[in-house]
Every structure is written in C-alpha cells, then in structure tokens.
C-alpha cells in the first residue's frame, strides 16, 4: 500500500529549482527526511502538504491526487510547518475547532492534548499572545488532531519540552504500528528516538530513499 506517491516532482522558488525529478513511493512507516541546510527538506514537505505550488509532476496522498482531488487528499494528511504562521487574532481553541470542522471530525479533538502540553487556560488565549513554543505545539496538535494516515512534520522536536516530546514519540510509534506514514524532517534522526523504517535524503535537488 502506497500512502505518499510523487512522480517527476519539480519545485522552484525564487526562480531557482529546489527539487527536480523527485519520484517517491512511501508505504506505511516512519521516515526521517534528512539533508544539509537549505537542501530542500522543508520545501519537499511544503509541496507534499499542498501549501506550495509545484512546477511539474504529480503528488498523490493515499491514492488521491493532491491537485485533482484536493479535499480528499488533504483530509488524509496532517502538516506541521517549521515556523507556523497563524492568525494571531484567533484563540487556540477557535483554531483547533475551525480546522476540525473543515476536516469533518470531532470539533474538540486535540483540545485535551493541547491543554496537557501547555495548560488548560491557554486554549482561550489569542494565538498572538502565545510564546513561539506554544504556537508550535498548537500547530502540531492541529496537524495530528484528525489522526491522518499521512503526517508530515518539519523539525517537530524544535522547542518541544521533554514531556511533550515523550508524548509525541509514543504517539508516532503507535501510528507507525497502525499503518500510517509519518515523514519527519530533521537534522538528527537518531535524536528523535523513533523506530525508523526508512530515510529520505535530499541532495542536489533529488531525493534518495534508503
């Protein structure tokens, strides 16, 4: 079963080709996405999440083309950006409930986890008043609250405290065993302490799978 499939993917930013001829077939499992600074790890995740236009090629999430069937494809993925830019006027609860409503899942999903990772009162704080770490936790909770088959995480360990990291580690391990695909962009895969099934290395505009 292939959960993430790309064919001849090319991504350009600022007139420069960052990724070219990227063809991937990811079955369920935990994958580390590695590469030098600026190699294109975040760009690959952004393209797979559908938040960045691609110059060429196709992306399919759990069998659904990301651009032809965007609703079906995006319902099946969760994405944590490296630096989440969220509207500061919403509260954490409003953001989670809106995202859950769009995805058609329980509106309260994720609230308990966010309250545990930060504190219950933070749910009703405006995002603009949260610290950078708390905003990242919120974006992470929003990415996993609908329990998607495909999860794309850009440096999830950054700014997470030990308790949240332990919680996330347990969750990802369970999800891997359940048959989901989790791609984690990181410079130090071993530091995550996750049972990896594969490694994607971005180098010279290509992606090598090992």
């Amino acid at each position: 079963m292939t959960l993430v499939q790309t064919h001849d993917l090319a991504v350009r930013r600022g007139g420069v080709t960052i990724l070219d001829h990227v063809s991937l077939h990811l079955s369920p499992g935990l994958y580390a996405l590695a590469g030098a600074n600026g190699a294109g790890k975040s760009t690959l995740l952004r393209a797979l999440a559908g938040v960045l236009p691609v110059a060429a090629g196709t992306i399919a999430i759990d069998g659904h083309d990301l651009w032809r069937e965007p609703v079906a494809a995006r319902r099946r993925l969760g994405y944590l950006p490296e630096s989440p830019e969220l509207f500061p006027y919403l509260t954490a609860r409003e953001l989670l409930r809106t995202a859950n409503a769009v995805r058609g899942v329980d509106p309260r999903a994720g609230e308990e986890r966010f309250a545990r990772w930060v504190r219950p009162a933070a749910l009703d704080l405006r995002i603009g008043t949260l610290s950078a770490g708390q905003r990242r936790k919120l974006a992470l909770v929003a990415a996993i609250s609908h329990e998607p088959p495909v999860l794309l995480l850009d440096e999830p360990a950054n700014t997470l405290d030990a308790a949240a990291l332990t919680d996330l580690r347990a969750l990802l391990t369970t999800w891997r065993d359940e048959g989901r695909a989790v791609v984690v962009a990181t410079h130090r895969p071993e530091a995550l302490g996750l049972p990896l099934d594969g490694r994607l290395v971005v180098h010279e505009r290509r992606v090598r799978v090992s």
Partner: protein, 450 residues
C-alpha cells in the same frame, strides 16, 4: 480512511454552510491583517484625493476622457490601470498570498472554495475602482447602446482582476516577469478601449479565466534574492537596517508616503501660485503648514521600520547596541523619510518667488520636531507594549497641534522647544522600553517553562 482503527470518523456535515462560515471567518482575518498592515498608508494616500475632487471633479475627468481621440484615451486608460496595479500590488499580495493564509491550504478545502474566497477579497478591495469604471462607461449608453456599455465595463473590470492576480502569480520570478505582466495588462486595457465592447469583454473573460483557474492553487512565495548595501558606522548600519526592513517588507507603504508628500507639495504649490502675489502672508502660512505635514509623513517611516524589526528584537538585543546609537539611528531614519519632500519641494517651490525659497529651512525645522517626536513615540509605545496598535489618529492630532503652534507663532522655529523637550525625555523613555521588554521576555520564558 476506514482502514485505520483509531482514526476519527468524519461526521456528516453540510459543506456549503461550513464553507460559508469558514469563508466569512477567514475573510475577516485576512482583511483585518491587510487593514492593519496597509490601513494607515491607504488613508494617507487617499487624503489628497479629497482636494483633487475639488480641483478636478469626476465628471470633468470623465468628460475630458470621452472627448479625447481613441488612441490617447487608450494610452491614458492603460497608464491608469498600470498605476492602479502598482499601487494595489502589496495589498493584493497580502490578500492572495500571505504566509498566514498559507497554513490553511493544508486543510481539505476545494479549489473552487479558494477561488471564490480570493475573488471576493479582490472585489471588496477593488469596489471603489469598479464603481469608477461603471461611472466612466455610463456615457457610452447614449452613443453605443447598453450592450456595448455593459460589455466595456465588464471588460475593464475583468482586466483589472486579471492583472492583479497575474502580478501576484509571478511574484517569485525575476522583476522582468512582473513588468511583463504589467505590460500585458496595460496592452489588454488599451486594446479593450480600441475594439468593440463585446470583443473587449471576450478578451477580458479569456484572460481572467486563465487567472481564476490559477487561484485554485496556492500562490508562490516572494522572490528572495535582492541586493543591498550593509555595514558602516553603527548609527548608519542600524538606520540602514531599518530602511532595508521597511523597503523590503513594506515597500509600497514607502511609495505611498513619498507619493502623499509629493501630492501635498503639488496641491500646496498650486495654492501658493494662486495666492502668492496677492497675499504673501497666506502663502507663507501654507508653506509652513506644508513643511509640518511632509515632515510628519516622512517621520512615520521610523515607526514602520521599528514595528517590522520588533520580531527580531531579541536578536538585536544580543548585539550590545549602545543606547545613543539606537536613538541616533532612529532619528536619522525619521529624517530620511522627509527627503522626497526636500528634493521635490526645493525644485517645485523655488519657482514661486521669495515665498518658496525658505522651504528647505522650514522643512528642516519641522523635521527636527517630527523626528524627535516620532522616535520618542516609538520608545514610548514599546514601553507600553503597544507598538503594533494603529497610531494614525494620534499622529494626526499631534500634527494639528504642531500646525496650530507654527501658525500662531508665525514661524516653525516655535517647534524647536518642543523638539528639545522630546529629545530631553527620549533617553528616559528608551530606558523604560528596554526595561519593559526585558520584563516581558522573562515572563514569556517563564510561561513557556510552566
């Protein structure tokens, strides 16, 4: 989705209703963001229009346009659309491609939903422009009939939307692409003037259809490669940092600021030319008032730069910046904001006789006041954690006070004691800002640990 045992099951829902509610919520957020970023600039840019309305009412402009030969009309219409495109480009970019909007692209929303949202935002932004187009084509009904009139109006409206989307869709490409987009837009508008209305509407519909299709995907990020000089003495380096931040993050606000100064000089110059010989005292009063207005608009540059750099404040604080260097850099930046008025005013007002020749001195004195006042304001707002709150009304009130003081005293020299008082208070206000920032950041760190 049912393959995975612990996954939450999708609940039945009415997508249209949810889409409508979400659309309204997202629209509110996006428009609020745009207003917060560009509201002050837009207000300042629109102020001279009030005076323009008195000098050249819309019906006179419309009659003059319809009285021109088609080729001249085509040229003017193309230039007007291109100018409008350049002036609205940053707001359009914010509406279609802000980074805060990008996060929402990861949610399961259809391409049609995104297209409708973007088009709604563009139509809201362009509403006055579209009304002006409707008003402009109305006289055609008498000569060419209602079908031609409606088709012409639709052609210009569709070409406006096409041009705006096209400019954003090439924003990650080298500048020549944006120029090409602008030229295509202007040429299409010129063609729409010259061809029959239905053909123009067909052209507009074709071009707009291509761009509306493009709205179903996220817009590209802005091109990152730019060049700029850096370094120099600490004060110059810090002032340049603020300048680069304002120019690159909010370039159109700078253009608007300069354009407002130039428009004010043009209008005041016209008025001085009218009354200069008959009433030199009234002309001198106009010149002094103009200096205060231009200095206030110019000094607003420092407030904008400080706001943009605020996110990097923790990093800047680790550089060990001397307090007096920071004050001097902000004063320098505030003074730089008045340069367009200095250059253009010196040339434009010099030809108006003795009354225009003291313009540089008036502007210098007004800038001394505006710079010290605005720089102290930046520290004061930082100290009260209110740096990002809109300050337009407050600035206008202070400007009015300075205008009254100048006119009562009959010279902008009266502003110097005020400027000296601001300069005297500035170090203490800066210390309060530094103290408040350290306290706030410590609180955030403690909060994060908990």
């Amino acid at each position: 989705m049912a393959r995975l045992p612990t996954q939450l099951q999708p609940r039945p829902q009415a997508p249209r209703v949810l889409g409508g509610a979400l659309g309204r919520r997202l629209s509110t957020l996006v428009l609020r963001d745009a207003l917060q970023t560009y509201g002050v600039g837009m207000s300042l840019a629109l102020l001279p229009l009030v005076y323009l309305y008195r000098e050249w009412p819309p019906w006179e402009i419309r009659d003059a346009l319809h009285g021109l030969p088609p080729s001249s009309r085509a040229l003017l219409m193309a230039a007007a659309h291109a100018l409008y495109g350049v002036a609205t480009a940053p707001v359009v970019r914010q509406l279609l491609a802000s980074e805060r909007l990008r996060w929402w692209w990861a949610l399961p929303l259809s391409a049609r939903w995104w297209r409708a949202l973007h088009l709604r935002h563009l139509v809201l932004l362009d509403a006055p422009w579209l009304l002006a187009i409707a008003y402009g084509v109305l006289p055609l009904a008498a000569t060419a009939g209602p079908v031609h009139t409606i088709a012409s109006g639709l052609a210009f409206a569709m070409l406006t939307l096409f041009g705006q989307i096209a400019m954003v869709s090439v924003s990650d490409r080298p500048p020549r692409w944006a120029l090409l987009g602008l030229l295509t837009w202007a040429l299409a508008v010129a063609a729409a003037v010259l061809v029959p209305g239905l053909v123009g509407a067909g052209l507009g519909a074709l071009l707009l259809a291509v761009m509306v299709r493009r709205l179903g995907q996220p817009m590209p990020e802005v091109g990152a490669r730019v060049r700029g000089r850096t370094g120099g003495p600490p004060v110059v380096a810090l002032a340049r940092l603020g300048w680069l931040a304002a120019r690159r993050h909010d370039g159109m606000a700078l253009v608007w600021g300069a354009a407002t100064q130039l428009a004010a000089i043009t209008l005041a110059g016209l008025a001085i030319a009218h009354v200069g010989h008959e009433d030199p005292e009234a002309a001198a009063a106009l010149r002094r008032g103009l200096a205060v207005v231009c200095a206030t608009i110019g000094a607003a540059l420092v407030l904008r730069a400080v706001r943009i750099l605020h996110g990097d404040r923790p990093v800047l604080d680790t550089w060990g910046i001397e307090a007096h260097h920071e004050r001097s850099a902000r004063l320098l930046l505030a003074a730089v904001g008045g340069l367009p008025a200095l250059f253009v005013g010196s040339i434009a007002l010099a030809g108006l006789g003795p009354v225009g020749q003291t313009w540089p001195l008036d502007l210098l004195l007004a800038t001394a006041w505006a710079a010290t006042h605005t720089v102290r304001l930046t520290f004061s707002l930082d100290a009260r954690r209110r740096l990002h709150e809109p300050q337009l009304l407050r600035q206008l009130l202070w400007m009015a006070a300075a205008l009254i003081l100048t006119e009562v005293a009959g010279t902008p020299l009266a502003l110097l004691p005020w400027a000296a008082f601001e300069a005297w208070r500035m170090p203490a206000t800066q210390r309060r800002a530094d103290h408040a920032r350290r306290r706030f950041e410590a609180a955030v760190r403690d909060d994060h640990r908990s």
